[in-house]
Symmetry: D2
Subunit: 267 residues, 4 copies
């Protein structure tokens, strides 16, 4: 690659934003050109993340920062409220958006796709940039053709409000597209403690474990007489999403239009 990809980070002082800043500063083919945060003063972005000074100071005026720094790509994990307006602004300025937020309607995506096409630039919107999680889901779905007897166990921190997790339900959906429909277990099965057999989804079960100190883990266990196949993904912290963000930053340089879902970048 001849020149580095110029990257700006929106929400650079947030927990995900800091990880993105670190990633951009350490990837050799990327250059950090701006960081935007409403709540931080003009600190050096390198120092903020515990690395060397990088000479780029935090901005708090988004449009000004983007106009002056002329990034190729903007990365934004700030959340659904501002997601559409940030994306739209970036495209208008000819900057490729890498959006790690939910909250876009199909109409939003269609419109943003048109805007990208018109500008001749690429963009991506993805609720999950974890390569490992995407591979786990894909492998589980593929294997369920041969191993229709399966259960999902997912592990998260003990303060998580909802069960089962979004990833486990997504996995269950993908499996259900492939797996022969069938109700597992003994039809006369009885629970002496209610709920012990887990949540029922389309013939199989999902179990949600909640314990302190666990970030996000999931195992799909598939079994037949004499054998078991286990596919497990453990995330320890937000760093888990960064290799995916780096891939996305490089990929959006190579096409026109808006892509929804990071799985399209993983073959």
């Amino acid at each position: 690659m001849d020149r580095k990809i110029r990257v700006a980070v929106i929400g650079a002082s947030g927990r995900m934003g800091r990880e993105v800043v670190k990633t951009v500063l350490t990837e050799s083919d990327m250059e950090l050109v701006a960081g935007i945060s409403r709540s931080s003063g003009p600190i050096d972005l390198g120092k903020m993340v515990g690395l060397e000074e990088c000479g780029v100071k935090m901005s708090n005026d988004l449009e000004l920062a983007l106009t002056e720094s002329k990034p190729d790509v903007v990365v934004d994990f700030t959340g659904p409220q501002t997601a559409f307006s940030h994306t739209s602004l970036a495209i208008r300025l000819g900057i490729r958006p890498v959006m790690g937020t939910t909250g876009f309607t199909p109409q939003d995506i269609a419109e943003l796709d048109k805007q990208c096409q018109d500008k001749g630039i690429g963009g991506i919107i993805a609720p999950n940039f974890s390569i490992g999680a995407i591979l786990m889901m894909r492998f589980a779905a593929q294997a369920s053709k041969y191993f229709p007897h399966l259960e999902i166990i997912e592990y998260h921190g003990d303060q998580k409000l909802d069960a089962p997790s979004g990833t486990s339900v997504k996995t269950a959906e993908l499996i259900s597209e492939v797996r022969e429909e069938m109700r597992q277990g003994n039809p006369k099965e009885e629970e002496t403690i209610e709920g012990s057999r887990g949540g029922y989804y389309n013939g199989f079960r999902i179990h949600s474990v909640r314990l302190p100190g666990i970030f996000a883990q999931q195992e799909v266990i598939m079994a037949e007489q004499g054998q078991a196949l286990k596919i497990r993904h453990d995330s320890y912290d937000r760093a888990a999403y960064m290799p995916g963000v780096a891939i996305a930053v490089r990929k959006v340089m190579t096409y026109s239009g808006m892509i929804y879902g990071f799985e399209h970048f993983i073959d």
Copy 2:
């Protein structure tokens, strides 16, 4: 040990009985002197289990077989219906009973204890001879003093009728004697699929996985900020109970009275 321990096996043609026969034939300090089964002909017990001929043929008259073969110890996994009468008969003949069955009342045990004491011989009644399962339960209970946040996941074959398993409930009881009482998880937690959080027991959760090809497995996961302690026991088949049976056969030679629970032999 000067002379071998003479062992008879009741229900020798059953699935557990065959394993016991194999064990007695291969332990160097034991001698198989009789095998009793109502349904088998007079086949050689060694050949029946796929070993060399041992010269001992299956009997179908229990009292005659015990009287003639003069065993030191009798091992019986046949089941609750005949458990009391078999035990009582053995003691009357001065033979130490190793009973792998449930179905004894506290009164039964007290009476059999008195019979053993009168005869000056030892005996044991135990629903579970698995050393590994006993250690797993004990370690989990000990650790719960320091790791009160925990969940139990147990795995059995998909045709098992009841959930959770007896071993997991026993584990939960032993933990509850030690663990500080507390309700784990977020008080506002919500299940979007009912049962996904598992069965509730005294503040923590039990999850029962049922899949083909699994004999019996259990994991107790205990976690705090920054760490997890996992204690897991996997049984692949009935052979898992045999080291415990061998210990019991040797131990009953050394005391008077009836002991209930194999955990008393494991220090």
Copy 3:
């Protein structure tokens, strides 16, 4: 399927042979028409494997048994010495061979392929019929594109002679075709106990665990900052190969020629 597939089993009294007999007797689209064994008397094959009498008695003359019973497919796990002659005989008689043995040279396979083509029948030779093992290897290789940092841990019984296992080396080869070449770990790493870092293969490590009671297990652990992806296959006994054998019996009915490697049947 209009009529059942007629299946003969060579080496029917062996450990794998018995499993195949059981499988053929229980799959509803197959019919057991012959079992051949040099060492057994004319016992009923159903009874031999602990099922009901099936009316087919063991033969000890291979050619006679095949000629009289007119099977569509013959399954043979007997071993390399007779593998070529059995395969060749089967093809000559117009019977599709499903061979679970090693020991064929590329020339052998080419010749058998021609024989199959000439007869217009299908055949398969495969050292491993385990669907789970094939999926594990395939998924590990695919994931290694994104997770080049990985190690393999394989577990077998403590009497196994060679380490690492054939499956782990095959996995390592498949991974190496995809994974970016790189030497993992700290270049200044030192072993204070020799061998603790495992066997070196093409930049990564293979660890061989040998313990009693384990049939065959393997885990490929792949990790990046903040996450790990684990793909594990556990085989508990020979039953693990049977779903693959059943697939093979059905597939050989559908093409002409000799296929090498069961992975070609798994998409």
Copy 4:
């Protein structure tokens, strides 16, 4: 407890020091009275660790800070060079030392014990404050009486220099005190890739896995015919040591003398 335990933290700006500061600020029976660091300015200790302002500012004069703040207990993870002098200074000032460093000779410990006894205060020196690691080692050693066939697999980050880890060797030593001596595996076993069977220790094997993103994990796998017992401890980050540090801070208030090894506090 009537009044809070007053705690000072030496090396408060280091990675372990910050965790200790956080712990002291959040435990309800402790009060942070001083933090000492040579390299930091007079920042508020609460703010430094991302909590609310606590009103205690960082000092850089150790003796002055301890004299003025009059702590009951001092916690120090700074390292072997200053370990002895810091401990000695604390005792002289009547402050109970909780030392998380190595580098003390048996003579050092004997002398510091005498100093503690003379002052009538308690102290502890421990290379490892992880409760989970201590329980894992203890359970593995206890179980090895019944499960002498075992292997240890330990996992650390890929930049770790030495293999196997200190914890795995300590585990192996504790096991060897209990386990019947025996060389596991097939005597004719052969490695086709050198080192694949792991490091040899007293009849059993230790395997060291090194992968990015792993902090510290260890599993002891113990197996017999038909069963396996697995004891595993996973540490995700330095927070794993804090429950042990909190226990130590409370315990040193209750005795006189210097204790070596945190395992003495875990029953």
